[in-house]
């Protein structure tokens, strides 16, 4: 379930607790007792019970029970953090049980903002969206970020097509940076974490992608996620924050008796969207393409290659605590396999967190330790080289696929199994099972995170907090290719290939902050002043190469080290990055209805060393007004806030770009090479200036909510690689220029209604973003930067375009009448437009919709999420190649129709697709509208009444993901991405199908 804004207030509770300690009322008459519970029947510990009009009160005990002496005509006020307070007249009763429900009153909400600073929602001048743990743990995936898709406005989340364990692409408010990452910053409990995203691929020859750091989290350890989509919200995080922030708050121990949560989520998956094949036309003898006669097909269906994937997640969490000390302990496991044999993902998490208060609660120590062991194998997103799908999809339709199921056969002379494949090596096809099972890529990671925070509160209005986090992930990557793998992949060795790397990814973060909260009559001040230090260290060591023999010895000593060159070579990377910052945040409030917020941060960044200025400053200013308190609004109009902010966020140039250590090692010529890039005299930090305005409104006491945000951001001084003529003596020029603008809207409308036993929570989100390259190179407005793609089509950046503009270099040669011209052999002619490619559309979406619903009736809950993407294009070379090989349904349909009509009659389907499809297709045939609408998630479950189970809670539910594609034009799932990088989006080259999954979950609490 999702709310537009955030965490509940503790202010009221605090106030009441203070009151409770105050004096006695002599008119007190009789004792009243009872229990305070929440909506699920859970006792609420420490709830406040106060006699109205007095300062007398008490709090509930560990069982939620209270006892208070009150007059028969008194009125009791019950309150609890995050719950709506209730007033109940005693009416002479001696037992009063109360059920408190969740507070939807936005006035007292508190939200966690940048650096973990808690602020009143009403004071915020920017959009913060919160997702609670229920939304993330009901329908689970191996990567918790996938569960966020469609639930937050202004954020595009795409899951990599790499299979289980795949990374995600999280881009907020449109891509801003042309060369640097556009991925969001992740923050856990106020402290930024390094999210090493290995999900990027760049071409059909790329190595398969990997997972990402944030996927290491156990979703069960997450209390909530706040999404700060705009730079103003994130300004205090500095350089990394221009792309927005995902703030993750983890669970901590609670005061009360020992509580144990058990959960199991199990799901089974299969391919969701597959290409459409034909199996009636076989291949002609001796050919690998399927252009044989009708009826020669063997009925081969590639679906049979895929297995049922599964994902089993178990978790046990324990919390316990006293008033002074609370502890949280959890264990989680995630064991999954993909739909392609060999693709597995196994993760084991352990987390411990302890919160202690000392010195009369003036000192609070929060300590947490988490450990993750993760092992993934054989993720595969797309491409030609490590992909079983080429051999599978293009398998000659007249042959017997069962013959290749025995994918290896014993070679008695070599005493090893060798690959069994006789169906052509075009596109470097190999036996699909061999590719899946004998070209193994594994990654084995151990990651520790230790963090501590010490908060000293000498006075009610002041605290000083220091925090540190140490994050250390060590992984071993291995690549084992068995003998008889195509020698292109074995560095020419007949004995196999081995690569190993050891990656040490460490980061340290520390900060100290002084926080002041003070109120004088009509005015309030909330201010933070602090300094932070961050150091990341990323080191990769390894070696790769063909094996020296004997076959299939996969150890570093078995690699042929004799002549290091392109294929046999060491891998070594060491990158350090250090940022030191001072920052301040001042929030001035007037009568709790008008707030002015100012922030400023100065960064000293090691990436800017050796430039004229390694420090840079960026400010933000924001204003928030609660109009519903300033003016009298109709009764039904419960709340109205308007907000506006401006922020200027800097980010440094890419790490190491300005370093004088610029002679790089080239394994191909075994020496250090001078860079062929032309550098500018000096560098400036990149800068994003953004405006944001929004309003937040509630009607009918919060039953209906609306949150709308408009924003505009411009990112300047981008560090770009500009292509230059080789005639200048350089291959490219690094320069700083550019202005990328994103203008957009974020809208969410919610219904939160409860009628006795029936409840309906609905949240509709809509986001749109318009990306525009305002300037790329002011000296040269015609300058274009080509950003890759496929053969004959690709993204071109130019002034006035977007960062996703796809240009097509191919078309049909036309005759004088404008019909398709034919060559002497009667074939269609593919014309190449090298100077003047045709704009075909942008791969960026025009808008995204999400509609999330949650119904509750007594203990039953039912929910579904419909998501849609509007606009943009995608391209499919898979389809083009399937057509050229005569294995697509389209190729069969054209054969059945008698061929393709041209001026002189018809040409055969084979003639047509041999030019139009294939590796160098005429692209206009393979460009699709990316618009799609799907039933993304659905679940139904039942909370068994606690009384049936002796006070234990049990929830059992059924879940589904990607259940139904309601509308789609492309021959593949357009939301599945081959790469999590900025480019190579909307491109399908034998991409792994996205997954549809069904499952169940069981949760128990006692």
């Amino acid at each position: 379930m999702m709310k537009p804004t955030a965490v509940r207030s503790s202010l009221l509770g605090l106030l009441l607790a203070c009151l409770a300690l105050a004096g006695q009322d002599l008119r007190a008459q009789a004792p009243v007792t009872g229990t305070v519970r929440d909506g699920f029947g859970e006792p609420l510990i420490g709830a406040g019970v106060v006699i109205a009009g007095t300062n007398r009160g008490t709090t509930t005990d560990l069982d939620g029970r209270y006892e208070i002496v009150a007059a028969p005509d008194a009125v009791l006020e019950f309150s609890y953090i995050g719950m709506a307070s209730q007033t109940v007249p005693v009416g002479g009763r001696s037992v009063i049980d109360v059920v408190l429900t969740e507070d939807t009153d936005v006035l007292n909400e508190v939200v966690v903002t940048a650096l973990g600073i808690k602020r009143a929602t009403k004071a915020l001048s920017y959009n913060v969206q919160k997702v609670d743990s229920g939304s993330l743990t009901t329908v689970k995936s191996t990567n918790v970020m996938s569960s966020l898709a469609g639930k937050v406005a202004g954020v595009n989340i795409n899951t990599s097509s790499a299979g289980v364990g795949g990374a995600t692409r999280v881009v907020m408010r449109g891509p801003k940076s042309i060369e640097q990452s556009n991925q969001a910053l992740y923050v856990i409990d106020g402290v930024p974490v390094t999210n090493r995203n290995n999900g990027e691929t760049g071409s059909i020859y790329s190595n398969p992608p990997g997972s990402e750091g944030i996927a290491d989290l156990n979703p069960e350890d997450i209390e909530s996620i706040s999404v700060l989509s705009g730079p103003a919200a994130a300004a205090l995080y500095g350089s990394s924050a221009a792309q927005g922030v995902i703030m993750i708050t983890t669970k901590r121990g609670r005061e009360g008796k020992v509580t144990v949560n058990l959960s199991n989520n199990t799901s089974f998956s299969h391919a969701f969207i597959m290409p459409e094949f034909q199996n009636t036309y076989g291949n002609r003898p001796g050919e690998t393409m399927s252009w044989g006669a009708e009826g020669t097909g063997t009925g081969f269906d590639p679906r049979g290659f895929f297995q049922t994937g599964y994902d089993i997640q178990n978790s046990v969490a324990l919390t316990t605590g006293t008033e002074k000390n609370q502890t949280y302990l959890s264990l989680g496991t995630d064991n999954a396999r993909g739909i392609i044999a060999g693709n597995t993902y196994d993760r084991y998490n352990a987390a411990f967190r302890n919160t202690t208060s000392m010195l009369d609660d003036k000192l609070t120590l929060d300590f947490s330790l988490s450990f993750t062991k993760e092992k993934d194998a054989n993720m595969m997103a797309q491409g030609q080289y490590f992909n079983p799908l080429t051999g599978l999809y293009l398998f000659p339709r007249g042959e017997d696929f069962n013959a290749v199921r025995t994918f290896e056969i014993w070679d008695s002379s070599r005493q090893i199994h060798v690959q069994n494949w006789n169906y052509g090596n075009d596109l470097y096809k190999q036996n699909p099972y061999w590719v899946a099972l004998r070209m193994n890529r594994t990654n084995d990671k151990r990651r520790y995170m230790v963090s501590g925070s010490l908060k000293y509160q000498p006075a009610q209005w002041l605290d000083i907090t220091g925090r540190v986090r140490w994050d250390d992930a060590v992984s071993k990557g291995e690549n084992q290719r068995y003998a008889s793998t195509h020698t292109l992949f074995t560095a020419g060795s007949p004995y196999g290939f081995y690569a190993w790397t050891r990656t040490d990814d460490r980061s340290f973060y520390g900060d100290v902050m002084a926080n002041v909260n003070k109120t004088w009559e009509d005015f309030s001040l909330s201010s933070n002043l602090g300094t932070s230090y961050a150091l990341t260290n990323y080191e990769v060591n390894g070696f790769q190469g063909g094996l020296r023999g004997p076959s299939n010895i996969f150890s570093p000593t078995a690699i042929d080290h004799r002549t290091p060159h392109n294929d046999n070579r060491p891998s070594y990377t060491l990158t350090l990055h250090n940022t030191i910052a001072v920052f301040a945040n001042v929030e001035l409030g007037w009568k709790s209805m008008l707030y002015l917020t100012l922030t400023g941060r100065e960064d000293w960044d090691s990436a800017l060393s050796n430039t004229s200025n390694y420090a840079f400053f960026y400010p933000s200013v924001g204003l928030s007004a609660i109009l519903s308190q300033m003016f009298r609004l109709p009764e039904w109009w419960s709340y109205l806030k308007v907000r506006g902010s401006w922020a200027s966020v800097g980010s440094p140039i890419p790490v190491n770009v300005s370093s004088p250590w610029n002679w790089s090692y080239s394994s191909s010529n075994y020496d250090y090479q001078a860079s062929t890039t032309k550098y500018p005299e000096t560098f400036l930090p990149e800068r994003t200036n953004s405006w944001e305005a929004g309003l937040q409104s509630q009607w009918l006491g919060g039953d209906l909510t609306l949150d709308a945000t408009w924003y505009k951001s411009n990112t300047y001084n981008q560090t770009l690689y500009r292509p230059v003529s080789a005639g200048t003596g350089y291959s490219q020029e690094l320069y700083q220029s550019g202005n990328v603008q994103n203008i957009g809207l974020e809208l969410s409308v919610g219904v939160h209604k409860k009628w006795a036993r029936f409840g309906w929570d609905s949240n509709f989100t809509y986001s749109m973003n318009r990306n525009r390259i305002v300037t790329l190179d002011p000296e040269n407005p015609d300058k274009i930067i080509a950003k890759g793609g496929l053969n004959g089509i690709g993204v071109i950046l130019k002034q006035g375009g977007t960062m996703g503009d796809m240009y097509d270099y191919t078309t049909f040669e036309q005759d004088q009448e404008g019909n398709a011209a034919l060559d002497a052999n009667g074939n269609i002619i593919r014309k190449t437009l090298s100077d003047n490619p045709i704009f075909r559309g942008s791969v960026l979406p025009k808008g995204n919709l999400g509609w999330n619903n949650e119904f509750t009736l007594a203990g039953v809950n039912l929910g579904f999420l419909v998501s849609a993407r509007l606009g943009g294009i995608v391209i499919s070379q898979t389809q083009a190649i399937l057509d050229a090989y005569g294995v697509s349904k389209a190729s069969a349909d054209l054969r059945a129709a008698g061929g393709y009509p041209v001026n002189t009659g018809t040409i055969t389907a084979e003639q047509f697709y041999s030019v139009v499809g294939g590796e160098a297709p005429i692209w206009q045939n393979y460009i699709y509208d990316a618009t799609n609408v799907r039933l993304q998630e659905a679940h139904i479950g039942y909370h068994f009444p606690a009384k049936w189970l002796g006070g234990r809670n049990l929830y059992v539910g059924l879940t589904g993901n990607n259940l139904l594609m309601i509308y789609k034009r492309a021959p593949f799932d357009p939301e599945s991405v081959a790469s999590t990088g900025t480019y190579y989006q909307g491109v399908d080259y034998f991409m792994q199908p996205s997954l549809r999954s069904f499952g169940f979950n069981v949760r128990m609490k006692f």
Binding site: G424, N425, S609, S725, A726, G727, T728, D835
Partner: protein
């Protein structure tokens, strides 16, 4: 420990960030100028970088610079990939292929020269050495495209200007290195092991430099006969390669042709060279090429140029791969080539230190010696053997048969016309220069020899041999004004058919 130190220091360092930050912002595995200066490394590193472009043996640069272009157009090799129907033979190569030598080589050459110029004067022997290697690289590039940018400001020079500029550079370099070598014939410069060609032995580099002048002189002899004659005679006077020990051969490993032909199976023998070697009963046939993996009508079978390939795994077996090992040195200029150049010069009446016949026969002899082939005397006396009629492999791709297109014989006949003598010289020169196809293609364009089979299917232009490779189309965008000027210098359309300045 180092990390802890870095951490501790950086905590203290707010005031004095810059030095510390420089240490932090230091990528592992890279070096800076000061480090590169150690052991005289940086100068040799640039010589090596230039050699890598002048003699691009690394498999990718080999394939893109030589194999796909010179070897295929020069009819030494041809491709065996079903998806390569857009190629240089058919004169419709993908933009990335056509632009590759320009985009990849030139910046590397310029960068190496720039790094040298930052450190030494132009009269420094290392700079002179670099000028020789650069001339070899740029000669290959201008002979690929025509007018070419040589001044690092984006402007193109006409091909004639490129030639005269490179010759002037060679004169400058040899004018300094020549006397040094005369004074100390055993002079070895720099880190010997980094010079993969001559191990820093400058006497051989000087010989190479003069040999390069002779190669250029012969190339331009129809376009600028007077300069050609002067340069050629001076080069021979100063001393060009006469022994195979002086051959320009780089021991870069693995051999580029080994990767593209043997390991990858992208390239196989071309029908043209196979038909000449087979018809001549030439012992070099089995030294150049391996027997086919799939038994066919002959041990060594070439594939017709421009053939449409159905299945690479079939084609690889039907046709012969180059007979090289990963450790075979790549050969980029030979004594044999120099003898043939001199034979042609003698035919033109230049003072080449011998008669055309003598030099022709020395050329064939040097090639046989280079390849360890026997039977040279019988070969040179062979007055009857002709190019063979070509018959394709069983189940082969492309046209099934070609009739011979040349009636040239091996033995020198003083009574033949000059044109027939030229055909004989160039045919043998072409056979001897294998496997450096860029020179083969240049000879085909310059002289029309050897005569080659018609392409089937025909190229889009209808011609059998392209005259050049079009400029990088991105130049029209990235370097517009200079590109327009280059078109004027080219004197024709920016396509495959506009002739080189030196073509007759």
């Amino acid at each position: 420990m180092k990390k802890i130190l870095v951490f501790a220091l950086s905590l203290l360092a707010l005031a004095g960030c810059s030095d510390l930050f420089e240490q932090i912002n230091r990528p592992g595995g890279r070096t800076n100028d000061e480090e590169m200066n150690r052991d005289g490394w940086v100068l040799m590193s640039q010589i090596q970088a230039l050699e890598d472009q002048a003699f691009p043996e690394q498999e990718n640069t080999w394939q893109m610079n030589v194999d796909l272009i010179g070897n295929y157009c020069g009819r030494y090799m041809t491709h065996t990939q079903p998806n390569w129907n857009n190629n240089f033979q058919r004169m419709n190569a993908p933009e990335g292929w056509a632009a590759y030598p320009f985009r990849d080589c030139l910046p590397k050459v310029s960068t190496a020269m720039r790094e040298l110029a930052r450190r030494v004067e132009k009269d420094n022997p290392f700079y002179c050495w670099a000028q020789i290697v650069r001339a070899a690289a740029l000669l290959r590039l201008t002979d690929t495209y025509g007018p070419f940018p040589i001044s690092d400001d984006g402007t193109y020079a006409s091909q004639k200007e490129v030639y005269s500029s490179l010759l002037a550079d060679l004169d400058h370099a040899l004018g300094i290195l020549g006397p040094m070598v005369k004074a100390d014939p055993a002079l070895v410069m720099g880190v010997a092991a980094k010079d993969r060609v001559y191990g820093g032995r400058m006497a051989q580099w000087v010989t190479y430099g003069h040999s390069l002048r002779l190669r250029m002189a012969v190339r331009m002899r129809f376009a600028d006969p007077q300069t050609a004659k002067a340069v050629a005679e001076s080069a021979v006077q100063e001393g060009v390669m006469t022994a195979n020990a002086d051959n320009c051969a780089t021991d870069f490993q693995p051999n580029g042709q080994y990767k593209t032909s043997v390991e990858w199976g992208d390239s196989r023998a071309c029908a043209d060279i196979e038909s000449y070697l087979t018809g001549f009963g030439d012992p070099r046939l089995t030294l150049y090429f391996k027997p086919t993996a799939t038994a066919g009508p002959r041990a060594v079978i070439g594939c017709p140029a421009s053939a449409t390939i159905g299945d690479n795994s079939v084609a690889k077996g039907l046709y012969s791969a180059a007979n090289v090992e990963a450790s075979t040195p790549g050969v980029w200029m030979t004594a044999a080539e120099m003898y043939f150049c001199r034979a042609e010069g003698a035919l033109a009446g230049w003072n080449m230190g011998g008669t055309a016949q003598h030099l022709y026969e020395e050329g064939v002899r040097a090639s046989f010696e280079q390849w360890g082939a026997s039977g040279i005397d019988a070969y040179l006396a062979d007055q009857t053997s002709l190019q063979a009629n070509y018959a394709n492999a069983d189940g082969g791709f492309g046209r099934s048969a070609y009739s011979r297109v040349s009636d040239i014989t091996i033995a020198w006949r003083e009574g033949d016309t000059d044109e027939r003598k030229l055909e004989r010289i160039i045919t043998q020169k072409w056979l001897a220069m294998f496997p450096y196809g860029d020179e083969a293609w240049a000879e085909l364009r310059r002289t029309g020899y050897p005569k080659v089979f018609a392409l089937s299917p025909a190229a889009v232009t209808g011609a059998d041999v392209p005259n050049r490779v079009p400029f990088d189309p991105k130049e029209a965008v990235n370097n517009r004004d200079n590109y327009q000027a280059a078109l004027a210098l080219l004197g024709g359309a920016d396509d495959y058919m506009t002739k080189m300045w030196w073509q007759r």
